[in-house]
Symmetry: C2
Subunit: 287 residues, 2 copies
């Protein structure tokens, strides 16, 4: 199968990896990549010789069957406004943003009656950013959340879901449908909170202790090496749910601190056992 003409807007880690995956598997008759700047074009051309590269977003989406927004969340709506009118009515537009509520509220109305729309969030990535670290197998075994629009606009139809499922499925992902609201609550807990928890851990530890830090510290803080701009933006977009998640996290830390202060070894063991067993369940689920 192929998805016809696929336009990928933004060749960063996620957009670049999607382009590589589509190219490697021959899933696009025509593959177009838009970037605001052409600095990365030589490198992209080297890895994907057949790609069409452009800095003109209207040219990029013209005639496209699938358009994937892989640009920073805050720039998405502005971009969609530029090209909404040239979209094929049968085109599927989706994105890869880490927050779905605000994106859906902005994008769904812009695309109503102009194209099919559904938000996507592939739960794949790296603490590194950019096309340099893009790879064709990034989505292998990755969960991809499809955020079925609950804005009341008619664009997020079963047809859109079906095609988005096919797209992510063909590059190795497994999809899951949620509302944007549900998605944002989920990622606040399992993605955004861990990012901020890792950053806080690095900041509270500080370089004076690094000389003996080992693999435990390395792994626990890995995501703190993610791009600060992107994560500040994600944080703000999903601030209410993340703030709640941090509050809940601090309660759990307080429980552990109290048990330590009381010298309550059995209580501490119980909490650690709960975490141990719960994580075993996570590993089981993510097999």
């Amino acid at each position: 199968m192929t998805f016809g003409t696929v336009a990928i807007l933004g060749p960063g880690l996620i957009g670049g990896s999607l382009a590589l995956a589509l190219a490697e598997r021959g899933l696009a008759d025509r593959l177009v990549i838009y970037s605001r700047k052409d600095a990365t074009f030589p490198e992209i051309k080297k890895r994907i010789p057949q790609v069409h590269l452009t800095t003109d977003v209207v040219e990029a989406v013209r005639g496209a069957d699938v358009v994937v927004l892989c640009v920073p969340i805050e720039t998405m709506a502005g971009l969609v406004k530029q090209f909404a009118d040239v979209l094929k009515p049968t085109a599927l537009v989706t994105d890869v943003g880490s927050v779905k509520g605000s994106v859906d509220r902005e994008i769904a109305p812009l695309l109503a009656d102009k194209a099919l729309w559904i938000g996507s969030h592939p739960m794949a990535g790296s603490e590194k950013a950019g096309f340099d670290v893009a790879r064709a197998d990034l989505f292998k075994s990755a969960r991809v959340v499809l955020a079925r629009s609950d804005t009341g606009t008619p664009s997020s139809t079963s047809k859109a879901i079906e095609r988005a499922e096919a797209l992510w499925g063909e590059v190795g992902g497994s999809t899951l449908i949620m509302t944007p609201h549900e998605h944002d609550e989920y990622v606040a807990h399992i993605s955004h909170l861990p990012h901020l928890a890792a950053a806080a851990l690095v900041n509270s530890t500080g370089p004076q202790y690094f000389s003996i830090a080992g693999t435990g510290f390395r792994d626990t803080t890995r995501v703190a090496s993610g791009p600060p701009d992107m994560w500040a933006q994600i944080g703000l977009e999903n601030r209410e749910k993340i703030s709640e998640a941090i509050a809940g996290y601090m309660q759990q830390l307080q429980i552990l601190k109290d048990l330590l202060d009381q010298g309550n070894e059995s209580g501490l063991r119980e909490e650690l056992q709960k975490a141990h067993d719960s994580r075993a369940e996570f590993l089981q689920q993510s097999k």
Copy 2:
């Protein structure tokens, strides 16, 4: 070079890995492993055919040039009391416990005038436990803290340090000398706090969100799969310093939460940038 007769007390992940490393490199003329129970003996014998196995700790240390305590911290002193009188006066006794202050206070007096003593803490490990996951290269590039006794007992001499440096160096580690007190403050921040932070993260998230958890959550919480008994014990042994570290960590989380609640994107970006840069420094140092 060889270290003569080496007795390893406790063939878990660390003790087992040390035995494998010594055997693989031919660093012991005679390698003895003591375990309280003989259940793992067939498996050990299979991987290290030349090993001498015993459940009698006095027999294990008799004539040993190096004795390494790899048993749980709370059982160390009881074990040392059993065998202190049969030690060769030139023997080096060390341990691999994750806390050094309490261990040193207990063990150093028991060994004064009976053997050389210095505490060790190899910053290597895994969230998995037991001889099954032991491997000869566990200490490759690992930091090993040598805790120079500050109890005033004469056992922790430069001779002890020199031999402990050689031992860990030959199996791939790089040593660093601290006082037990300094060590415990360091590990409270870069090992014990990350463990409790990971456990709290799993407990505050909960299985209802696991369906979309990806590699970020997996890595951030990896150490929460460590043995609950061992970590409860470590936590209690180093409770004061860990409690302080948790308090400092919660302050950092509160800073991030406040920035989110205020919608302060630039402030949030600054904090994330600080963590990003600080972690880059850690990666640089641990190269």
